[in-house]
């Protein structure tokens, strides 16, 4: 069964550093998403991406965040200058038109 893959599974970084989280969505999907879950809290929507541009973003997705689809397969989330409160599990997801979202296993980001 096709799946969304995310790398790395764990990322440790120093506060103020840039991080890039990588995702390979399911190949025929057109919509791509990033969500995050801070420990003990709910899964929160960050951003959706369609047709090479951001469709929607939440209040969390401020100027420190950016997304990119650099080639036909990868979808990345960049955090320019990480803060302690960015520590969370970040989930990538993809979907086809009008279909449910498929999630990756997540990248655990720890900002020290």
């Amino acid at each position: 069964e096709p799946e969304v893959t995310q790398t790395p599974s764990h990322q440790v970084t120093q506060m103020g550093q840039e991080v890039i989280l990588r995702c390979v969505p399911i190949s025929n999907h057109l919509y791509f998403y990033w969500y995050r879950q801070i420990l003990g809290q709910k899964v929160e929507f960050l951003v959706s991406f369609y047709n090479n541009e951001i469709s929607e973003k939440s209040e969390i997705f401020d100027d420190q965040f950016s997304v990119e689809r650099p080639d036909g397969s990868n979808f990345t989330l960049k955090i320019r200058s990480t803060k302690l409160e960015d520590s969370a599990m970040y989930f990538c997801a993809s979907s086809s038109v009008g279909e449910k979202l498929f999630f990756g296993s997540g990248t655990q980001l720890s900002v020290l």
Binding site: Y31, G98, L101, G104, S105
Partner: protein, 117 residues
């Protein structure tokens, strides 16, 4: 602003019995509801969904009921099995038919279901 609420952080059910997980929502624009299951160290996996034009959807041991007037949905699992032990997230969308959900999904905080042998 909790648009999707799961008021029970945990639920313990005996194997073989029925598990009922509840979810309430406040946004009347939501028209598509999903349940996701999540094991530790894994991403959420889709379980079952329901459109607002229905009040029930069944898939094997899983049934979702939607009460639009009460803005309430529930997931029934019967019979419950040990492998059902996981965190269950209720999620909602207002954009099922606008191309995959550009607004993304709004999740509840989850209910940790524990199936006891």
């Amino acid at each position: 602003d909790q648009q999707v609420k799961q008021n029970s952080p945990s639920l313990s059910v005996q194997e073989g019995r029925i598990s009922i997980l509840n979810c309430d929502y406040t946004n009347s624009m939501f028209d598509y509801f999903l349940w996701y299951k999540k094991y530790p160290a894994e991403g959420p996996t889709f379980l079952i969904s329901i459109s607002s034009i229905k009040d029930k959807n069944e898939d094997g041991r899983f049934t979702v009921f939607l009460n639009k007037s009460a803005k309430h949905l529930s997931l029934h699992i019967v019979p419950s099995q040990p492998g059902d032990s996981a965190v269950y997230f209720c999620a909602a969308s207002a954009t099922q038919y606008s191309g995959g959900g550009a607004d993304g999904l709004t999740f509840g905080k989850g209910t940790h279901l524990i199936i006891q042998p």
